[in-house]
């Protein structure tokens, strides 16, 4: 039995369906992420798990028990809010002690538990500080300590890193992974940031317009996006669409509009005539001045239309003769070399059948 079982949950606001018949299960000890653009329903779903909102249809079971009748304070889950929601009139210790007071933990026992929680987030010695005396990262840690101090069965995190700057975000991401391993409870993590999601999670549910587009491990989400939306939302991706000429369960051939026939390896079979999309990550494309030796699976000629130097890599947008723009990426690993091509250079573009991923629409 899964720890958290969401069954056919729907939530509407007037005419707008925020969460549309969503079902998913979260296992004990899992780091589970709800990923999607703003307005996709991920936060609404999280709020329903926490109890701040109720589904219009469907059930939410925790340890097999329906939560419909439990107000937030009776649910053994804790939330880390995006704004941290630290009580400004209480010290760090007061904030962390609050859930213990509410749970009527004897005061003799409290001190040790507060210290343990602060140790978990490496904030010992901050007991007397007030929230306004803390940095963003420290507030974040207090919020987590407050959520963990009563040993909930599950932690809900609502974009906890969104308000922090990039460097701190990376540090805290690593800490979150370690913390989750240490305390061993399930995390349900909401974010719109795909890098965060890919780096942190055991499994990711990509949401769009209230529905789950794909629920999978990070590497599967990235490498084998099931839908156009997922391919496009996670990382950069060239999406080539057109009528399928054939798809026989090992190889597919798609007549891509403005490009021509493209071959891609696939386990899917589909009838000819339907539309298919090939998702192709920029880093998997070879671009070079001269043609490769041998016969590549997919081979086109074009000219560099513009380029974007990003430091570690340079992104080239190549206009293929048919008119399509292909985005390719080259690592600038050779020291001192900022770019391999200039705008207008003729280039040779190719990739093997295994590079792309085939999606039937």
């Amino acid at each position: 039995m899964a720890l958290l079982d969401i069954q056919g949950v729907t939530r509407r606001f007037g005419d707008f369906t925020a969460v549309d018949n969503v079902s998913l299960a979260v296992e004990a000890g899992e780091f589970f992420t709800l990923l999607g653009p703003s307005g996709c329903g991920k936060t609404t779903l999280l709020r329903m798990i926490a109890g701040f909102d109720l589904p219009d249809a469907g059930r939410i079971l925790l340890n097999g028990e329906d939560l419909a009748d439990s107000p937030p304070e009776l649910r053994p889950v804790r939330t880390v809010f995006q704004s941290y929601a630290l009580f400004p009139h209480m010290s760090v210790e007061g904030n962390v002690a609050f859930p213990l007071q509410m749970a009527r933990v004897p005061s003799g026992e409290r001190k040790a538990r507060i210290e343990a929680a602060l140790e978990d987030v490496r904030l010992q010695g901050f007991n007397r500080r007030y929230p306004h005396e803390l940095s963003g990262g420290q507030k974040q840690r207090v919020a987590i300590a407050r959520a963990l101090v009563t040993h909930p069965t599950m932690l809900l995190l609502d974009e906890p890193l969104a308000a922090l700057d990039a460097k701190l975000r990376e540090d805290l991401s690593i800490e979150l992974i370690n913390l989750q391993k240490e305390v061993g409870i399930a995390f349900v993590y909401v974010t719109h940031d795909q890098t965060e999601a890919l780096a942190l999670s055991h499994r990711i549910a990509v949401m769009n317009r209230g529905r789950i587009e794909q629920l999978d491990e990070p590497s599967k989400i990235y490498g084998f996006p099931r839908t156009r939306f997922v391919a496009d939302f996670i990382g950069h991706c060239n999406l080539f669409s057109g009528p399928i000429r054939e798809a026989n369960g090992s190889l597919a051939l798609v007549d891509v509009d403005g490009l021509g026939p493209v071959r891609v390896a696939t386990a899917t079979s589909a009838a000819g005539g339907a539309r298919g999309t090939i998702a192709l990550r920029p880093e998997k494309i070879r671009i070079a001045a001269e043609a490769p030796s041998g016969t590549p699976d997919n081979h086109f000629h074009g000219a560099v239309r513009d380029l974007l130097y990003m430091g570690d890599v340079t992104v080239y947008r190549v206009a293929i003769e048919g008119g399509t723009i292909v985005e390719a990426l080259l690592a600038n690993s050779q020291s001192g070399r900022a770019k391999f091509f200039e705008v207008g250079d003729a280039v040779d573009v190719s990739w093997p059948v295994g590079a792309g991923h085939f999606i039937v629409e």
């Binding site: 937030p72 304070e73 704004s83 929601a85 929230p131």
Partner: protein, 262 residues
């Protein structure tokens, strides 16, 4: 900073003088050794002594104080509830009833309450005055409290619930401490409004019941005597004190929540 023309300063100074000179004259003449509020004769505390032995005035002051305290307490409780209700729920009737007593001419409330009490055979007196004062003070408290709530991060209440607090504890331990400055400001406002009110009191007090403004009114209708200056000076001092208390209390109660909202 731009240079401001001299005439702007002159106009502003005139306006401030216009606001303060009359009150200053009242205070200065309360120490004047003359029955006439016309010329400075000499310094005296006589009018304060007269005041201290004026039983009628003391009774009026006692009544006003008592009404003020009761009104301030009841309207703060009811006004805070109204502020909370308006902040948290979508209501139709309550917001109208909150704003209307403030928006309509004061005299309307005075006369309508007069009709109301008389038709109900309710004896006009301290109780009817207090009931009337509460009716117009609730709105002021509710507006102040609501403004305070609007400035509060609503996730804090949710966080309290999430930490295991029932709605009542969430209010008691999180919401109430955070809106306390607004509640105190509202209470002081209600107290001042009640102590100062003349129009509504005038209609709802009935004969024989006297409050400070009513006593001042009947005295100045008859003649101008420095005893009025003396009581006015004391009343102004009291108001000033309350304002200072309110200003001192509000920021210290919540040292810093402004900085904590990102």
């Amino acid at each position: 900073m731009r240079r401001r023309p001299a005439w702007l300063w002159a106009a502003a100074i005139f306006a401030y003088a216009f606001l303060y000179v009359p009150l200053l004259i009242v205070v200065v003449y309360s120490f004047n050794d003359s029955r006439l509020n016309a010329e400075w004769v000499g310094f005296t505390f006589d009018w304060y002594r007269t005041l201290a032995s004026d039983d009628q005035m003391l009774k009026a002051a006692g009544n006003s104080l008592m009404i003020g305290i009761v009104v301030s307490f009841v309207s703060t409780v009811l006004g805070t509830m109204a502020g909370l209700a308006m902040h948290r729920y979508r209501l139709r009737l309550l917001p109208i009833l909150i704003v209307a007593p403030i928006a309509i001419p004061e005299i309307l409330m005075g006369v309508s309450l007069l009709i109301f009490f008389v038709l109900l055979n309710f004896t006009l007196g301290l109780v009817s005055v207090a009931l009337a004062h509460i009716a117009f003070c609730i709105g002021f408290v509710a507006i102040v409290v609501r403004a305070r709530l609007a400035g509060m991060d609503e996730t804090l209440t949710e966080a309290a619930r999430d930490c295991g607090a029932t709605p009542a504890s969430a209010f008691r331990y999180v919401t109430l401490p955070l809106i306390m400055p607004g509640v105190i400001a509202g209470a002081l406002m209600a107290f001042t409004l009640s102590i100062d009110d003349f129009v509504i009191t005038f209609f709802t007090a009935g004969a024989g019941t006297i409050t400070l403004p009513l006593q001042i009114y009947s005295m100045i209708k008859i003649s101008v005597t420095p005893e009025v200056n003396a009581v006015s000076t004391l009343l102004m001092l009291l108001t000033l004190l309350l304002i200072v208390v309110a200003a001192k209390l509000s920021p210290t109660l919540l040292p810093s929540e402004r900085e904590t909202t990102p």
